[in-house]
């Protein structure tokens, strides 16, 4: 499990490599909550390095959505693979989370004045 953050003008991109499951979900949650505590409330998670997300992983994504939106930001996704998309649809999360095809689109989806 490797997590890195890159900061852009409109948002910060969290790149996750590995599986988000029962074992790793707490680490991912800690990481994202730390970013949010550091006033990074416009977040994009790049899941192109994630092959598998379990319900524990979904709970992290929901946590991130709630934490960012309640502070006036948002948590959006890019790089969603076939299996992860299936899990998002199954859980109805695909209606809650905004997914984008690539980073440029995701960055452009945040108003630049908020940066």
């Amino acid at each position: 499990m490797v997590i890195k953050t890159e900061h852009y003008q409109t948002a910060s991109v969290i790149r996750v490599t590995g599986n988000i499951d029962t074992m790793t979900a707490p680490n991912v949650a800690d990481y994202i909550l730390r970013e949010i505590a550091g006033e990074k409330i416009r977040l994009i998670a790049d899941l192109s390095g994630v092959d598998f997300v379990s319900s524990a992983g979904l709970r992290v994504l929901l946590l991130a959505v709630k934490a960012t939106r309640s502070r006036g930001g948002d948590f959006r996704l890019i790089g969603v693979g076939q299996d992860v998309r299936h899990v998002l649809e199954l859980s109805g999360f695909s209606r809650i989370l905004r997914c984008f095809d690539d980073l440029d689109q995701a960055l452009a989806s945040f108003p630049s004045s908020e940066a």
């Binding site: 029962t22 379990s54 319900s55 524990a56 709970r59 709630k66 299996d83 859980s91 109805g92 809650i96």
Partner: protein, 714 residues
Amino acid sequence: MQDELTPILDSLKEFYFETDIRGVLTNINQPFSEHLGFKNKADILGKHIRHFTSTDTFRRVFQNFSRVIETREAIDLYHYAYRTRDGRERIGETTVSPILSGETVVGARCVLRDITDRLNEEAELRKAKEAVEEQARELTAINRIGVISNQSLNLNIILESLCEELTRIFPVRNAGIALMTTDKTCLEVVAFHSRDANEKSALGILLPLKDNQASRDVLEKKKILVVQNAQQDPRMKAVADVSKTRGTKAIMLIPLLSRGTAIGTIGMPARDPEHVFSEREINLAGIISGQIAAAIDNAQLYAKTETALDLVERDLEIGRQIQSGFFPETTPAIPGWEIAAHFEAARQVAGDFYDVFPFDDPRFTALIIADVCDKGVGAALYMVLFRSLLRAFSRVELLPDTIQDHLLEILSSTNDYIADIHGSANMFATLFFGILDEETGVLHYINGGHEPPAILDKDGHLLTRLMPTGPAVGLFPSAPFTVGQYIFERDEFLVGYTDGVSDAQNELGQTFTEERLLKYIQVPWTSLFSMLFELKTELRNHMHGYKQFDDITLLSLRRKLTPQVEQHGICRPASLACLPELRDFVETAAVHCRLEHKDAHAFKLAAEEICSNIIQYGYQGIAPGTLSVFLETDPGMVRLVIRDDGQHFPPDQAAAPNVEERWQERQIGGLGLYFVQQLMDRVSYTRIEPGFNQLILEKHVQLTESSPTRNESW
């Protein structure tokens, strides 16, 4: 009184003299008289002090005298430069006080100490200190240049930083680095830094060498050139206008030498146009330019190596992709038999291979495991050749009563082709080639010098090993091969492997060994797939991340007890650390059973959710036990059976979360079991006393085409 004092004055270490108000010596002590070069006082008394006062300071001495006479006050400790009789210049620390007669000043008396030596020593010390400081500054500069040169391998970044550093080290306005263009007709400014933010950058400017005598001189003579007036020097005529615009006069041009060849120049115009570059500055520039040239060399070499490596990597990747096409994507399904294989290349391309393909008469199936000698690209090319030859010679029509002959024919033809046509390459392969008759259970085989496959019964007892029946294939023409035979009883299985398995090393250099391999597999297995999965885990644990030296290949075959049902299973401690392995097993077993990707993922997800629930909540208050998962296939149906020895724990009829809810209302939790219910067609729980929980998850699935023909990519 004077006479009384004379002996005292003469005995002083300090020098003493008196003058009248004109400055004529009226008294002097013996030491000073001698010091000035007059053994006899009478020779100097009556002379004016200007005779032994340095010309430069006479005016100041005279003023001081006048002041003493006017003010009647003494003057303390001023530096008095005087001259001895033989012309030596000395410095004395002097006190002057008035000689009074009543109210009238009649002269002056001086006490003087020669401090010339002390002053000289001090001056020398100062000079030495300055020299050391200068040297330290230079060393620091050289050091900084070295650091910058190694900071990056990106040449542009290095050179920009170097230019900036040069403007700090030298009293220059800017520094520019220009490299010779490939046609050697111009210098191109590739880096530039000015201390004046308003100065226009010269970056990218092309300086034709044709008109530029100064640069040509620097490049040809490989020596630093200092031009004192760039606006007028004929050697810099071509850039005279630029020099005028920029106010450049004094400029230093330094050659950049890479292994003796001039590759470019550094140009540094002095900040003060009239500055004269010192020898030290020129020497320092020479040293630094050597470092800069080395940095350029390194970066360019690195870039070249990178490109070359990229090309090799790309070629190897293409090779790997092509070669992976030579491995069967799935092993063909033979009714009543189970086949499982595992292959892991040590490098991008491999010399090991296995192959399974049906003959024209589908009752017969070829099973091959082989290890081509050597490693890397050469072995990979021969692997492809061996495999193609074996497949090609196998296409000849096969009659049941001539299987042995046919097998001999295939092996001999392949052997002779390699030995005759490619004899000079000295390539060969150890290989096991078996032809299975699925109806009778007879396996005819030739073992060409390969590790003997093991045959085990259903309880994992080692029954026999299929020993070599000939030499390695391709060693020499007309090699003698004979055909062996083994008849499989129900539930007996074969395990073939290459030496990459037995020779797999850990970080201590300890090999996995054949003994350990054979011991490890001698237990009952639910399936060959499970066995290979566990063996793979065991091997990985042994190597513990240590580099794999050789390709690892395993091929196994079993005559099934119950032909219809396929079952794969493993056990693990009920620990979260085992969760990834459990779910990976379920996923790969599902793929092995030819489930479509979507269904394989569904089973993986279900396994993760159920197992993590059991591990986290099933053993509260009791010691963690053992979890086992089984994947079973019936026609049209796949079953995931999960057994644990935890507390009685029927999965709740989890209240289905409202998946239509807005995000504010979505609850965290309850999703795992909801998933399982969504993904599976039937979920049933049984408590098996004493002390087992069994959960069965069933799903109707479409199996992917198990057509063996897809492997026939001749």
